[in-house]
């Protein structure tokens, strides 16, 4: 790495030094608890759409914890958070365009 990159990397490392170990154990514990809740729901034989909604909500919470704390995005610059997450959410949301077709098939059959 050139000198500029080394200097930036050292600044980033300095940010990491300020984070205590405890918060990582808390996040890990929370992720395990949420996983336990998901498994409990799996044993409840709930109606699929309701179960899917709850599971996706819990998965998004888990994803936020992993991205924010483990991947350190919570501590990055605001513009980095917004650009990366907005681009990702937008692209993934665009894929939802296929779902009306899936509902059409289940309602009318394959035509």
């Amino acid at each position: 790495m050139d000198a500029v990159q080394v200097a930036i990397a050292e600044r980033v490392a300095e940010q990491h030094r300020h984070h205590g170990k405890a918060q990582f154990f808390w996040v890990w514990g929370a992720l395990l608890v949420i996983t336990g809740m998901e498994v409990y729901l799996g044993y409840q034989n709930m109606e699929p759409v309701r179960m899917l909604s709850i599971l996706m909500a819990l998965s998004i919470v888990k994803a936020a914890l992993i991205i924010g704390y483990f991947m350190h995005l919570k501590f990055e610059l605001t513009r980095m958070k917004w650009i990366t997450m907005c681009a990702l959410v937008f692209c993934l949301a665009m894929m939802c365009v296929f779902f009306p077709d899936a509902f059409r098939i289940i309602k009318y059959g394959v035509q």
């Binding site: 790495m1 500029v4 990159q5 930036i8 990397a9 980033v12 490392a13 300095e14 990491h16 030094r17 984070h19 170990k21 990582f24 154990f25 890990w28 992720l31 395990l32 996983t35 998901e38 498994v39 729901l41 799996g42 044993y43 034989n45 699929p48 179960m51 899917l52 599971l55 996706m56 819990l58 998965s59 888990k62 994803a63 992993i66 991205i67 704390y69 483990f70 991947m71 350190h72 990055e76 610059l77 513009r79 980095m80 650009i83 990366t84 681009a87 990702l88 692209c91 993934l92 894929m95 939802c96 296929f98 779902f99 077709d101 899936a102 509902f103 098939i105 289940i106």
Partner: protein, 265 residues
């Protein structure tokens, strides 16, 4: 027309980084964003099939869910050990970095082994793909007798999605092995390839899948030969981003694929 004089003696002036971090990390974030679209497409394909197929199979019973829960716990624990490796690296504790990375690799390997066991069970019971060789002497269970014909989307999307994730975990373990042990990891990797290749029966998809380790060993040898270096805290952090991403993707595969196709009996 006068010639333009170009001065080469002026010191290069750099703009500050837009994202306030070093290039390697931004490069990894860009890769992960593109890779998340790959997994996004596979997850959407699975969900599309799930919605549009009324008789979607529910092959995952209590045993599979317990197995997948342990796999999830291993991945979550590996993320914790990875973040502790990053923390140790910024304090310059080389030995601790290596130990945490090895712990992360152990959890990742446990995940792959448990996942491979699950695949083997499903294949031997008859949930398979046309490209997989037939298991000699195995009888198709009543549950899977018609699945491959009536709902071919299920095995195709299940093996496609989980296979892609397993490949990412395997390559992640190799990546961490190179960061932790550098050249010393190459003979270990070749040993793992031989064990995975020779210990799996010829009809198992892992018999051929094991060659991924051989390809990885060749690629890693070339990289280490072209650019030998001591990996610093920035390299550990970038490897950690990749590892956490693999963990993150599983947080969606586990509920969507396993818990939504569960029938507790």
């Amino acid at each position: 027309m006068a010639d333009v004089a170009v001065q080469h003696s002026v010191a290069a002036a750099y703009e500050p980084s837009l994202f306030g971090t070093y290039s390697k990390k931004i490069g990894m974030w860009l890769f992960l964003l593109s890779d998340s679209l790959t997994f996004g497409a596979l997850l959407y394909a699975y969900s599309y099939g799930r919605i549009s197929t009324p008789n979607w199979p529910t092959p995952f019973h209590s045993g599979s869910i317990i197995n997948a829960t342990f796999m999830t716990a291993f991945l979550l624990t590996s993320s914790l050990t990875m973040v502790l490796a990053v923390r140790a690296s910024v304090f310059g504790r080389t030995k601790a970095v290596r130990l945490w990375l090895l712990a992360t690799m152990a959890c990742g390997t446990a995940f792959v082994i448990l996942h491979g066991r699950e695949w083997s069970r499903l294949i031997s019971e008859g949930l398979t793909l046309p490209v997989f060789p037939a298991v000699p002497g195995a009888e198709t269970s009543k549950e899977f007798r018609d699945v491959s014909k009536t709902v071919p989307q299920f095995p195709a999307t299940f093996f496609g999605l989980t296979g892609m994730h397993m490949l990412h975990v395997t390559l992640g373990v190799v990546y961490l092995g190179i960061i932790a042990l550098r050249k010393k990891f190459i003979p270990i990797l070749l040993g793992l390839w031989l064990v995975a290749w020779l210990a799996t029966p010829a009809y198992s998809p892992f018999h051929y899948g094991a060659h991924v380790l051989l390809v990885a060993a060749i690629v890693c040898t070339v990289i280490l030969w072209l650019k030998p270096k001591v990996y610093d805290s920035s390299d550990v952090e970038v490897a950690g981003l990749y590892w956490h991403f693999v963990d993150l993707v599983w947080m969606f595969i586990f509920p969507l694929v396993y818990l939504m196709s569960t029938r507790i009996i």
